[in-house]
Symmetry: C2
Subunit: 389 residues, 2 copies
Amino acid sequence: MVTASPLTLGVVGGGQLGRMLAEAASPLGVELIVLDPTPDCPASLVARDQIIGDFDDEDAIRELAKRSDALTFEIELADPDVLEAVSDEFDVPVHPDPATLRTIQDKLVQKHALQDRGIPVPDFRQVDSREDLLEAGEEFGYPMMLKARRCGYDVHGNVPVEDEDDVDNAMSQVSGELMVEEFVPFERELSVIAVKGDDEVATFPVGENVHEDEILRQTVVPARTTDDVRERAEDVAHDVLSTLSGRGTYGIELFEGPDGHISVNEIAPRPHNSGHYTIEGALTSQFEQHARGVLGYPLGATTLRGSIVMSNILGDVDEPEPADLSGVEGVLSTPGASFHWYGKHNVRPLRKMGHVTLVGGDDPATVGESTLTELHGAATDLTDSLTFR
Amino acid sequence: MVTASPLTLGVVGGGQLGRMLAEAASPLGVELIVLDPTPDCPASLVARDQIIGDFDDEDAIRELAKRSDALTFEIELADPDVLEAVSDEFDVPVHPDPATLRTIQDKLVQKHALQDRGIPVPDFRQVDSREDLLEAGEEFGYPMMLKARRCGYDVHGNVPVEDEDDVDNAMSQVSGELMVEEFVPFERELSVIAVKGDDEVATFPVGENVHEDEILRQTVVPARTTDDVRERAEDVAHDVLSTLSGRGTYGIELFEGPDGHISVNEIAPRPHNSGHYTIEGALTSQFEQHARGVLGYPLGATTLRGSIVMSNILGDVDEPEPADLSGVEGVLSTPGASFHWYGKHNVRPLRKMGHVTLVGGDDPATVGESTLTELHGAATDLTDSLTFR
């Protein structure tokens, strides 16, 4: 039941995803309270209130639940056990389902869950010792991708293993429980932003992700691939959705192999960086969809408004320093470009500080690859022109 | 100089215009502090902070100025003298210029200023007595429009005078200083949202306003008129802009006469209800433009994303009561429809509570009148389906 009386959404995490969620929730009449350990976190500007506390601080989450009509999270570090407990205690729904969060938090469990449902994933195995990793090398061949099963806050969890001699070095770079995956010689990385509502699902058009040093740089939409691949990617996304429990927006990262084969790389149980383009690029943004989904409101249309490229503004600094970005005039005066600043006070090397989107004039149904490549170049140039002094 | 360090915009007024301004300012990294007498005013949800005080409370405005990098207002009831004084005292710029606010606040002075610059306006004259009104009747003929020169908060300031016998009745319905205007037998009411930046101006495409009981119901964009009329309306809007001092978004209401003659009805020195369509309908919204303009940032592109209709959600109640809107599901599940709720706790008869926009699939450069009429009907149906219980 949709109501115009203000509903309060309690959100674990108050970073840029929480900020853009608050920007999108306000027109719906939905208020946010965010829980984040950093005072004056990005979302605090536009949220009704911030509770200062760690993502797994039980007392803080209880306070959040007490003041909220529904709970969600914008960071995987949320604690599923605590969320489950407070949901029961205060009779406040949590979406996505904490069980889904628990599955996704452990990349090994996540991969098993997908594999068990017949969803294509790269070959993988658990790694408890260097012997396990060496055995995997014999089975998969090199290079392989060694991964921390659980991601810490801002911890770099993926390390390539180039050959047998690289095994010890790779293992020294990651910590905690480990897994390894075969290296997928992908043509491109794709992603589908998918939403579960109340007895309905919606997927946004397939985006193409450009990474560098394992960090997302740009998303190009529509993806520069074939209709056939796009359809298969959407099919896989729908299969993935059917394995997940609880409403809201999910980011599904995919590999497109050289033969057009689609496999699932990773799932995020929240709005995703590769879906930021939807704010200007689609009739409903991934953030509005998340608010709608979590609250059980009808989902919106995911139709593209135009071809579009999102480009991240990353910290181009060597050491942490106060954030002071120059060159924004150039972005603001470019027709079709939109600037998004996350309000972080300090910039760190490769930290996500904001993003730029650039909308092209071409119909996304017929836009050609070379036009998208030009748009990609123009959007990249815009963010390259921004520097932290 | 655009900076990514957070700038604070101090805003006199915290209603729906302030709320949508805050929603639009956040991606730019711009924080709002709003001054409004109503605790928990609409803008307070997404603003950094609210100062509770009257729009002309000098102490409150001083506090606002002390905490802000620039000042603006979203309501004509702001006090230009106080704004001027605190601007000088704290060396904080105010936009638009308080002198422009002062001119616009008095509709008689506003009309004189336009007339002096050769801008077409309906015939008008000052009314200090019933004799003045009767004389105007002889000069202009009946009906005429009697207007309060200054608008109070939520005061209905315009009253038609049907004939000589209606003069006393009309004068009893308005208060304060008065003026009268000839009745313009307009074909349609148009408006142009116009923006002054730092050495640049921008205008949005001409919208067509549908009023009922002198309250805006819908805006249809592009206006269902000829290219020729549209061009003249834009020319007049540019002439009007040249008479105004200070940066920011202005709403310029126009009449289109039966012969296509354009005259100026009224100017608002702020974002305007007839410009709400720009949030979904244009590459940059009137609210983002206002923030950009006031801060001296480059203005954005005003290109339409599609043909679009905005329809107001007005209080359909007989008496004030707590706001409890039903039927929102229908809006949310309509492709291309967007819902905007202002977060007012109480509904009053004809109070502006929110709005709906509906984007059409047609190219705004070629869309036909009948398609726009259908879109207008569909948007109207959507808001008609919403009721306060």
